[in-house]
């Protein structure tokens, strides 16, 4: 086990390396940030001086080296918009995004698990048709549109929830439902097919034939085993969830990482963009690793190689 985790951790290093290289190339191609950093009436001399002090006159490989040295010290450069180091600004926004992501995940699980089990055990029933049909329609709906429609119905017409912002519980509900139901659509399909597969296994048939009540068969024998792939898929959804928060935050003016990032993209604040990409990539990689480890811990049939 320890060996396996060690090996997976070592695999992360080249991945982080490649990501850093891709990001560096993009920033390099993006070109000169100097024009954006100085006031419009700056003299030619000032421009040249700033270029020199930022090391922008160095050749590609030296710039890359300097960049990697900075990365190793978690230095992503200075945001010219906030005039401070980029990382603390990004980290400051992280809790809001995590709050939204976790709330969305809870919504997704609360919908997907009962619905998935239900539609699998009552295959081809009305519930199954509604659940699978609903899942497909939900998948087809753009998330930001769903968010706007929820605002229209529940904030504008009914006045139940605030339109945007963060603060109280009621601020969290609409964004969490927007993002969570989208994830639930994917998960329901997955749980359903995972349950259906297990319901055909010998041990489930044995459990039934020895006269166990259907409730116990489903919950003790089938569901527990169906849970294994579900845990993995949940953790693997991180990338989708994080991507989803970017848009959901923008719809609901949620002051998280996504909003910061989109602002940074619009103002070409590359330090913030880089730091955000790294933090997000790191979270996704960590969650994927966690998914693999959990998968192996939960299922003793899988051996560590």
């Amino acid at each position: 086990m320890g060996k396996y985790i060690m090996r997976r951790l070592l695999q992360i290093i080249p991945v982080l390396f490649i990501i850093s290289f891709i990001v560096f190339c993009l920033v390099y191609v993006a070109g000169d940030p100097v024009a954006l950093m100085l006031p419009e009436d700056a003299s030619q001399e000032d421009i040249l001086q700033l270029r020199e002090s930022l090391g922008l006159n160095e050749p590609f490989y030296i710039q890359y080296f300097n960049y990697m040295v900075g990365l190793a010290q978690l230095d992503f450069g200075e945001s010219f918009r906030y005039n401070t180091s980029a990382l603390p600004i990004v980290l400051e926004r992280l809790p809001a995004t995590i709050e939204l992501a976790v709330a969305a995940m809870i919504v997704a699980i609360m919908i997907a698990i009962p619905l998935g089990i239900w539609s699998a055990t009552k295959k081809n029933s009305a519930i199954d048709v509604v659940a699978t049909g609903g899942a497909v329609i939900w998948k087809a709906m753009p998330n930001f549109w769903l968010g706007i429609m929820l605002i229209l119905i529940f904030s504008v017409m009914l006045g139940w929830f605030p339109v945007s912002g963060r603060g109280t519980w009621s601020h969290l509900i609409l964004p969490a439902i927007t993002l969570g139901t989208g994830i639930a659509a994917e998960m329901t399909r997955f749980i359903r097919s995972s349950m259906l597969e297990i319901m055909n296994q010998d041990y489930v048939r044995t459990a039934r034939s020895k006269g166990l009540k259907e409730f116990f068969v489903i919950h003790k024998h089938a569901f527990r085993n169906a849970l294994i792939p579900v845990v993995t898929i949940t953790a693997l959804q991180t990338s989708t969830v994080v991507g989803g928060t970017l848009i959901t935050e923008s719809v609901f003016s949620w002051p998280g990482l996504g909003q910061l990032l989109i602002q940074a993209v619009n103002t070409r604040d590359m330090a913030i963009v880089q730091a955000s990409v790294f933090i997000i990539a790191f979270i996704v990689i960590a969650m994927n690793l966690l998914a693999d480890i959990l998968y192996k811990l939960l299922d003793p049939r899988i051996t560590f190689r």
Partner: protein, 302 residues
């Protein structure tokens, strides 16, 4: 000699027609598949004949007709069935024109992603070893960055336009093809016909092109259809964020973005373009699911 060749081509044409008939029969058997195909054909038709179908010029600003509700709502005008936007432009015409960019960006970027992905998947799976290891680490790196985030970063650098969008969505989406094709190739490589070709000394590129490529086409078609669906949503999301298609080019995401500010007073601005996206994507998903059932029987839904 010539007549023999003709006969052969006759047989080929016949078997192709047979295929088509069999497919059609299979398609009509599946209700959702039929609906999916009809929706997709309808959208393609609308996109091609937008000029003839649109009742108004989609960019015609009309101050007298600002924010008119849909025809069936009080105060609506039958001339503007789905109402007008904040500049008095006809929503229906804008949605009709918006279908063009959605389809073009969706299909073109999927083709680009497919070409990159198939190439890398074939090479990586066929040669294995060190090369495979490096390519798969690159795939892992791409997977660690959410597609939309990656697209955002590239768009920052190159500036938003339809062409950048196609390239961006293409180079972010190739990863899934590369993974899938590599997996297919890994198992195909061990099959007799590939081994036989190898033992006869057939060159690598011939094995890849003649034996492996034709066998990975069906899984490719299946994911491509579903991928066009997700790409259309992604394009709309980026345009909605103001980083995708720029006005005056009309895109569904763009109309929605305009409509967001008026959601409190004029719901139709945001509601209808979203509906258009949902229906289009739904059609693609239905068609893709059906294609999977027909072309890839192993992955049949339970």
């Amino acid at each position: 000699m010539e007549s023999k060749e003709n006969q052969w081509s006759d047989v080929l044409v016949k078997s192709k027609q047979g295929h088509l008939k069999r497919w059609l029969r299979l398609l009509l058997k599946s209700k959702t598949g039929t609906i999916g195909l009809l929706i997709v054909l309808l959208i393609i038709f609308i996109a091609i004949f937008a000029k003839l179908l649109a009742p108004h010029d989609p960019n015609q600003i009309n101050a007298a007709m600002m924010l008119k509700p849909p025809a069936w709502v009080e105060g609506g005008d039958t001339d503007y069935i789905l109402g007008t936007d904040n500049l008095g432009r006809d929503i229906l015409s804008r949605i009709i024109y918006g279908s063009q960019i959605s389809l073009v960006v969706g299909v073109a970027s999927v083709i680009l992603a497919g070409i990159i992905g198939i190439f890398i998947g074939l090479v990586s799976g066929f040669y294995g070893g060190f090369l495979d290891n490096i390519l798969m680490r690159i795939v892992d790196s791409f997977l660690a960055i959410p597609t939309i985030l990656f697209a955002l970063v590239i768009l920052t650098v190159f500036g938003p336009s339809a062409l950048t969008l196609i390239v961006v969505l293409g180079v972010t989406n190739w990863v899934q093809y590369a993974r899938l094709i590599r997996g297919e190739v890994l198992s195909l490589k061990e099959r007799e016909f590939v081994r036989a070709a190898r033992s006869m000394g057939v060159r690598d590129h011939k094995i890849i092109l003649k034996h492996l490529l034709p066998n990975v086409i069906s899984p490719f078609i299946v994911i491509s259809t579903l991928s066009v669906a997700t790409t259309i949503i992604l394009e709309a999301s980026l345009s909605f964020l103001g980083l995708g298609i720029q006005p005056p080019t009309i895109s569904w995401g763009g109309i929605l973005s305009d409509g967001r500010d008026y959601v409190a007073t004029s719901w139709w601005l945001a509601a209808f373009p979203g509906l258009a996206i949902t229906i289009t994507v739904l059609g693609m998903i239905f068609l893709g699911d059906w294609l999977r059932d027909v072309l890839d029987p192993r992955e049949k839904k339970v």
